[in-house]
Symmetry: C2
Subunit: 637 residues, 2 copies
């Protein structure tokens, strides 16, 4: 006994008050990045100012802004404007709204982001996926052809709802929701969306007039081939030519990264050259439809036109929520990956607030849903931007375009836009990544394919939801069936490891060491009971053959992060079951949150404090002694 008491044993006395546990749980759930930690040393007023400046980042970077930064930002701002014009016009066509609204959307929202946004490289703009999602949800109910004014205000209303949703998620720090979009889901969803958007471009590429409002492969193919008489070879020819140019410049960028700007301005060149060709050749009369009239002037105010009393409000809300969530996910992901490259910090929830405000203001000023698109932000980063000032520069450039140049774009051929979108979408299909997923993780591959096939064959919501549902199912399965491993002694060491992984490791006769998986929750409690009972039985059969009895089961609990009421109940039942078979249950290194519950539920008293150990080695030593003593005691009696 002397020796045993000298052994360090599992700490069963440390206890945290409920309030502090709750506080740390809430902090880890909602403030994983602990944004205010650096302000803790300041005076109250200084702290209040720091926190205010934290939420309005322009106060932070603006106060130390230098002329050298400005030069870089101007260059980057001009570069992204050259991308913003063709993208704005193209994606507006995808949303079935006037192209000028695409240009408006690169004026007001970037200004808002420059004030509230924290990423120094993110460039604001519309994206193909959310544009199509908005259009495909709304145009079933409000026809953009029949009542274009009502349609466009419904789109603004959806944008407003998306903004409020994003703002609310940010304020309540629900960035955790975005975590449930896995990489695999995003890969599959983006790939599927790219295919669907390219299919939509067949209308522009072939110069067709009638087209389905559905997005799935089968409907689109049927629509394309049932109107073969509308196909125009002039459009197709021009489209293929543009596409080749766009793809060649991308190839150039891949080969010679410092020529990225050639690739960045090609879309604008395609628009300009296409416009000149269409103007000179009187394209409209020769099978090359063009964009049509564009008004000069700044964004009109649209706040009083939002359609809250419309009969389609439920569709509008749904479209706003789904598209807003998607836009958020893309923006956050872009912000995070650029921050990683620049080794900066990001606060997802703060970004959400910035996106939310940007879309609310946008919906008041004739802009539709914007976020931080991958392509534009990457160009911004490559062009050497230093601060969100590059967004301001883009807004100023766009102001000039809107006031002076907008009418010129009326000659833009639709086929040029189709070619620009198609080229952009081709870059989103990551075949290599899908192949890697198949090799690496079959379940992730299924998650990815669920998103892809759902988007391509049904619609974007179904693709997204089925993929997320599969991912969540996987998480639940993990919780319901935590792994248990039998451990053995690795030759030449005092270490105990999984016998399946280390086949040379040896077990000790009469002793079974089981590593329990985490967490021990209601969903896994009855499984674990069955599984432990099976392990015990198998071990008993083995040891019996060798002439021993199974005397001891060590439960190695280092990895068990949490246990709930059902889990505690399971431990009681397992202990009772093992006691009936004369097997001792012993716990190794239960963690703090587990120990708290073991003590509170009196499990420690039922099993006995002396059967809780800090390590396997100690448990083997300690329990041998205790078993021996119990035996001696029996013999004496």
């Amino acid at each position: 006994m002397e020796k045993q008491s000298k052994l360090p044993s599992a700490n069963l006395t440390k206890r945290r008050p409920f309030s502090s546990t709750l506080k740390s749980r809430l902090k880890d759930t909602f403030f994983p990045d602990d944004p205010f930690r650096s302000f803790s040393g300041e005076s109250p007023s200084g702290r209040a100012w720091s926190i205010f400046a934290y939420f309005v980042p322009i106060l932070e970077w603006g106060s130390s802004y230098q002329l050298s930064h400005f030069a870089s930002d101007v260059l980057a701002g001009i570069t992204i404007t050259s991308l913003a014009i063709p993208q704005g016009i193209s994606y507006a066509k995808l949303t079935d709204v006037s192209p000028i609204i695409g240009l408006y959307s690169s004026f007001a929202p970037p200004l808002v982001y420059a004030v509230f946004g924290s990423s120094s490289s993110l460039a604001v703009g519309t994206t193909a996926a959310s544009s199509l999602l908005l259009a495909s949800s709304i145009r079933d109910r409000v026809s953009p052809e029949a009542d274009s004014e009502k349609y466009v205000y419904t789109v603004f209303t959806a944008t407003f709802i998306a903004g409020v949703f994003q703002l609310a998620l940010g304020i309540f720090r629900l960035g955790i929701l975005v975590d449930f979009l896995s990489r695999s889901t995003i890969t599959g969803f983006m790939g599927g969306t790219a295919v669907v958007i390219m299919l939509q471009q067949l209308k522009g590429m072939l110069g067709m007039e009638h087209f389905t409002s559905k997005t799935d492969l089968i409907s689109v193919m049927r629509s394309v081939f049932s109107n073969r008489d509308e196909w125009k070879w002039q459009s197709a020819l021009l489209g293929v030519a543009f596409l080749v140019v766009l793809l060649l410049t991308r190839r150039l960028k891949e080969k010679v990264p410092r020529l990225f700007w050639v690739n960045a301005i090609t879309p604008l060149l395609v628009v300009v050259i296409g416009g000149v060709i269409a103007f000179l050749a009187k394209g409209e009369e020769h099978g090359i439809p063009v964009v049509g009239d564009l008004k000069k002037g700044l964004n009109p105010i649209s706040i009083s036109e939002l359609q809250f009393n419309s009969p389609y409000i439920s569709v509008t809300v749904k479209a706003g929520l789904v598209a807003g969530f998607l836009a958020l996910a893309e923006g956050i992901a872009v912000g995070r990956s650029l921050a990683l490259v620049k080794n900066e910090k990001t606060d997802g929830s703060k970004e959400m607030i910035a996106f939310g405000l940007m879309n609310i203001v946008g919906s008041f000023t004739s802009c539709y849903l914007t976020t931080g698109p991958f392509s534009k932000s990457a160009v911004n980063y490559n062009a050497g931007c230093r601060t969100p000032m590059s967004n301001v520069v883009m807004a100023v450039c766009m102001l000039l375009v809107l006031l002076l140049l907008a009418p010129l774009f009326k000659h833009t051929p639709l086929v040029a836009l189709a070619a620009i979108i198609t080229a952009a979408m081709l870059g989103l299909i990551e075949v290599h990544e899908v192949r890697r997923l198949f090799k690496l993780d079959k379940f992730d591959f299924c998650v990815c394919m669920a998103a892809f096939l759902g988007v391509v064959f049904v619609n974007m919501e179904v693709g997204l939801i089925s993929s997320v549902a599969l991912s969540v199912l996987r998480s639940l399965l993990h919780v319901a069936r935590p792994a248990t491993h039998k451990l053995g002694n690795v030759a030449g060491t005092e270490l105990y490891r999984d016998v399946e992984q280390y086949p040379d490791s040896t077990t000790i006769p009469g002793v079974l060491i089981l590593q329990l998986g985490s967490p021990i929750y209601f969903a896994s409690a009855s499984y674990l009971k069955e599984r432990i009972s099976r392990w015990a039985e198998e071990e008993e059969n083995c040891t019996k053959e060798e002439g021993h009895d199974l005397q001891l089961i060590l439960f190695e609990m280092s990895g068990v992060a949490a246990i709930d009421n059902s889990g505690i109940g399971m431990l009681f039942e397992v202990h009772r079951m093992l006691s009936k078979r004369n097997i001792r249950a012993t716990l190794i290194n239960p963690g703090l949150s587990v120990v708290e519950k073991l003590v509170a539920s009196d499990f420690v008293d039922v099993v006995g404090k002396e059967w809780m150990f800090l390590s396997i080695g100690e448990a083997l030593l300690g329990s041998r002694l205790a078993l021996q003593e119990a035996k001696n005691h029996e013999e004496q009696v």
Copy 2:
């Protein structure tokens, strides 16, 4: 280097083929108890027979049935019949069907269970919760008063659907679904249901004629007090008297457990005495309503009356699914807990098949939803039953009752039934358990209260669903925010443990040891990245004050049971982030399934094989050597 290569290192070569991983995952998910493991040594034909006998347990226990078993089973069978009569009549009233159907339901289903059921102590019968659930779902659409025939056939149809659902769950081995009903949910749900059912008994206790068809507290209270003129003091007096007797005998059982049979037959006595009183006092004329006419004879066949083409089929299906699921959960839980006491094995999926067949046959023979109720099964166990033969004995007794005695029960006063139900329900409210939950686990307490309050104030479905949703949310939160701990060296040992739990443990300057939680999935990947970066920053600040640099982070991964594609991506990003800060990332003891993915994704090559260790001690030694060597190399260059 010599020394390092002698150290045992993490096994990175062991690989399992995908098919075997999949097989073991599927087995753990669907066959956690591995029911066929004992047959593996037999010949093919012997094995086929064993498997057949496994699914038809009567072949197993019937072949070794002995006369001594029979004596015990007859005694138990008669005891449970004495409970089955009053319970059958009472719960049938709760379902708004004729009392005789309650008696039918204790005839056919027990015979089916005796053939396919594997629990030796489970007694088949109707339960209060699923009776009320069926009634409250269906009577909103089909009125039991206006069209009683249609109503009763709709109930049979719901029973059929419940049976098919149970059978399907069993065949596809989806017992895992039942695992998602936690103990806390069941405690809250049963308590809430007990309250709601007692409220319904106010009708019978007060002898009222009009009553609400809703079940929530507020509707019932309004209904009771708005019809105060219907209250009958004779009923109330008799009801209270019966209730006192019933509660006293329960108290007797608690004090003197071997007198359990007094408690078991009291309900029958109450029915008989109540009937005699009502008959002698002409109760019906004096404010004591009675059950009314009951036909003599066996169950009529109802298979051709099932209502599949009714306009209420969607309600019927929903009622069948929810009630079937609940009944299943109760039956499985009863089977499991009795098996635990008797140290037998249970196979949840096999039980589901038995329940499903029993309800399908039941719906064909004028029985409604049955399962293995807690109360009846406990009496069966206490009465010393040995095999499912006790169910056969009960069925035979019920046959005699139906053929000979049924008409006698027409005098049973409704208030006697109300008292029996009320007394039974009082036993289901576990105040003690709720108090324990509050002490042990605040979240489990919330889960329990969600079920309780949902059932009492809204309805049974809402209570059940909100409680399960909360439990699932908890599981998802666990997956999204796995715990990370900083480890330190426990004084006087070579062990490294959580510094929060072991405050005396010491850290090593320049080295941070982090224990990562499980699993590393998409939902936790970006959280972990932020958290690790925060740990590293805090440690850097600490070590800088002491004049050191943070050189090394050890990720202790023993507890990480699974990692997915997003998790692997996170590791790459963390490694890159740390490399930029000149900090070495080192992995300790990654498990088999993690290693497989680390290798497949080339992470091992990026980090370097030499930075994967089997234990912390070895990592400290090994990485010191490697860092030293790298430094020497630099100096030489």
